[in-house]
Symmetry: C2
Subunit: 512 residues, 2 copies
């Protein structure tokens, strides 16, 4: 059989020969034979057997077949009217600890029909995974966590289908990329051993399951695919992100940085992949995620300077109400380049002028005066926030430096640095380089790839071969433990200067 | 992987390495890896994921694994306490139109634990398949037929497990061999096109399904396997019978005759198989099944003669109440050899003596006098029954003659004739040859193989490789249409003499 490229779920029209005394195969056998060509025979879901004879006769022995590729086995999930307009739908889910992002696609023409995003309702039972897993070990806790997230995804499916004006029963395939713990909580699997030494999940390869075990209103024969994970530390969302970035297919070595709730870094090429995940121990507590507030209407996401005035842009162009991570990094770059903060990130009173104030007895800086603010009060950043930002940027840089050193390459050897994640999507590399958060490389080496977890899950819907690719990534990637040892702490201390104690590392910043 | 010979369902003990920081695979991955060796990874049923972590820790990372081989894919259905005595059970079902025979086996040690037989309760809605299929096309008819036979098999499972003193939930695998129509009615599939030109079933290859779609109390993750069938004429019971007989593996050509409700005949060797099934049209109405009553307590199953007295044996050694097929054939042989019937099967009054009577104005013969009978009346056979027997034996012989002629071999070329089926199991070849029902070959060429459909279904439980073998039989066998044309009728007329118009065909009978 010539293997055509097709999605995990796909639609294929067939026209069958008519049954006769000399060609009297059974109806289902005739259909499956037409679908297999000379290759292995597909398997049909049992509920189809009950209607296949009636429908084939009604449709003059033609049909549009909804297929699902499960490993080597092709599954026939449904048959649709060859003249009809029913769509076969797929949904990609980025199952985040904080947010759930979902995308509806048409499996037949590979068109994105709708997207939706929502908070993970498990947050109510604990904003971090640890608290949730503790909650899951109580009597009804696991069930409650499963119900909450399942209900949220079910609601998301409804939202998507309402937007697209299509029935939920038309959803045949759902792909889910999430971290190990979220995947366990969604599947309703015991997660308690994930957080206890030696940190053993129930499964690293949940694979393909019947979707109606987890979700309510999709097609009853629909399938759900979970990206594999590695131990308790690399989630399916990272595997999905690598898949989308394509670094595992390139000859040249590249780096993928996914900055969301945690920072995850993967370095490699077609021959090898190494990665580290999460904040590196208590020294870096808060990690890179403590920078600014969550993006939302009126939040400052860009800061630049014209003369002595800051120019800020806000989300939805509303009067400013606060500042988010990308805006904060821009601001810090501006403050450093204008001398309003020094190399240690401390506010320099003379340079700040009237912007320098005392807040709760500590130094702070006015970003937007009260009269221009959307809150009625001035928008300020405190010295404490700046200190925290400096620690976070130092953590980020140290993680990147450490992983690159571990495999014996230099930043200059990197062909590309892919920046992914909700946070990464908004960050301005120029500003991030200015404060020494990321290495000072030619700007075109940086490429933002957005929500790579969602994009990888979408890719999976479009190409069944990606299932093997995801498994191959999982099998190939080596986990690098970021020991917070003396060497690490020395590098971390060096990175706590802006841009760095070694300014030669940031030539373009020195020039400015 | 060295592929070990194992059953469709089987049990394998494993002992796992203990998880540690340096070997932190997930629990299920650890288990599946141990089961796969270097081969492809088995797939575990989802419900196992919920308990695997708890049970592995409880059992010190050892378990007895219940496995099911589905095509190339190994399925892990359950894990059992490595120290426990729980058994993994399998059930073979011969799903006959008239009777259902079931056998319980231990999948681990391949021991038969119990057997049971019951009438097919669908008989109440029609003794023949045609009537049942007509009933199935009424509104609730199909559902009713499915419920009746499903309930009967469920009852059978209960009986088997009661006999063996084991729980029904221990049944992990059920294999079913039945004809095309019975398989459809059991599965609840529309059967109406099976009986209408061009006679198209819903499926010829139902394959493996989850047993809880059809049966109530087996293990929830259990599997059910249905033997494939060919068109509407060759059922899975015949494929199962061929599998058990082994004629498809032999160099020499052999014949398999399965005489149950219908006669089915298969001729062939390792290179080719041809077969014909059922009675051959209206000329043979009643086929070979109209001979005598169904076997049961007090029914005469053997007849011989000592001097002028018949010696009869009855089932359960009770006073005689009637005569069944095998007894009737014995009787006819005795009557012919003693001259009490002539070559046309007509009663010869002088030879019969006082046994000759008139019943309802027609000649009849007293087999057992009223005083020795269990009914209080004499047990008789009428001339009409004898005429019917002659037609039946002629049909049988003509079918065998025709199929052998079609492929250009002679009876003498046959290495073996395997006689199967409930009827075939009791027939005495000596008597059957005497009346010219089966060819006059050396008696050791005949081999009775009992309920080959049940035996084939049992074999399937014991060896997953038989699944491929059953498919290969299905693909290889050629259906020979027994046209009731002039040639056939000429041969049929010749066979209506006892033993035959051409006595040279029956040299040993002539000698007697």
């Amino acid at each position: 059989m010539i293997r055509h490229d097709h999605g995990l779920g796909w639609v294929r029209p067939v026209r069958l020969s008519m049954p006769s005394l000399s060609d009297n195969s059974a109806d289902m056998d005739r259909l499956l034979r037409a679908l297999s060509g000379t290759g292995p025979c597909p398997v049909a879901t049992f509920s189809l057997y009950q209607k296949v004879s009636r429908l084939l006769r009604q449709w003059d022995f033609a049909a549009r077949c909804v297929l699902f590729q499960e490993g080597e086995q092709l599954q026939l999930l449904d048959i649709l009217d060859p003249q009809g307009t029913e769509k076969a739908l797929g949904v990609a889910v980025d199952l985040g600890t904080t947010r759930i992002v979902m995308r509806l696609v048409d499996l037949e023409c590979r068109e994105i029909l709708a997207e939706t995003v929502m908070d993970n309702p498990q947050i109510g039972l604990g904003s971090d995974i640890l608290t949730r897993i503790h909650h899951a070990s109580t009597d009804s806790g696991a069930e409650e966590l499963k119900r909450l997230v399942g209900q949220a995804v079910d609601d998301g499916l409804e939202t998507l289908c309402l937007q697209a004006g299509l029935p939920i029963e038309g959803i045949y395939v759902v792909t889910v990329s999430g971290n190990t713990a979220m995947t366990h909580l969604f599947m309703g699997l015991p997660a308690e051993h994930i957080i206890r030494e030696p940190y053993i999940p129930v499964t690293n390869t949940p694979g393909t399951r019947r979707v109606n075990r987890f979700l309510q209103n999709t097609h009853p024969e629909g399938r759900i695919y979970f990206f594999p994970n590695i131990g308790s530390y690399f989630g399916g969302d990272l595997i999905s992100g690598i898949l989308y970035s394509g670094i595992h297919r390139l000859n040249e070595t590249s780096l993928l940085v996914d900055v969301g709730t945690n920072a995850e870094v993967v370095l490699g090429n077609r021959d090898w992949l190494v990665g580290c995940a999460g904040a590196a121990g208590p020294a870096l507590e808060g990690g890179v995620s403590s920078m600014g507030m969550t993006a939302g209407a009126g939040v400052i996401d860009r800061v630049s300077i014209t003369g002595e005035d800051f120019t800020v842009t806000t989300i939805d162009q509303l009067p400013p109400v606060g500042i988010c991570g990308s805006g904060f990094i821009d601001l810090a770059a501006v403050l450093f380049l204008t001398g309003m903060i020094d190399a240690k990130g401390k506010l320099v009173e003379p340079a700040c002028g009237s912007r320098y104030i005392q807040e709760h007895g500590l130094p702070a800086l006015v970003v937007v005066a009260a009269e221009s603010s959307g809150t009625g009060s001035a928008i300020t950043v405190s010295q404490a926030s700046l200190d925290s930002l400096v620690r976070s940027k130092a953590a980020m840089y140290t993680i990147l430096e450490t992983i690159v050193m571990k495999v014996g390459v230099g930043f200059g050897d990197l062909e590309k640095i892919y920046v992914a994640g909700t946070f990464g999507a908004y960050i301005d590399p120029e500003s991030a380089i200015s404060i020494g958060m990321i290495p000072d490389l030619a700007r075109d080496r940086y490429e933002k790839i957005g929500n790579s977890s969602l994009e990888g899950a979408t890719l999976m819907l479009y190409g069944d071969r990606y299932m093997k690719e995801a498994d191959a990534i999982r099998d190939r990637i080596t986990y690098v433990e970021l020991n917070v040892d003396q060497d690490f702490m020395i590098r971390f201390s060096g990175a706590k200067f802006i841009p760095h104690t070694d300014p030669d590392l940031f030539p373009t910043v020195r020039k400015k």
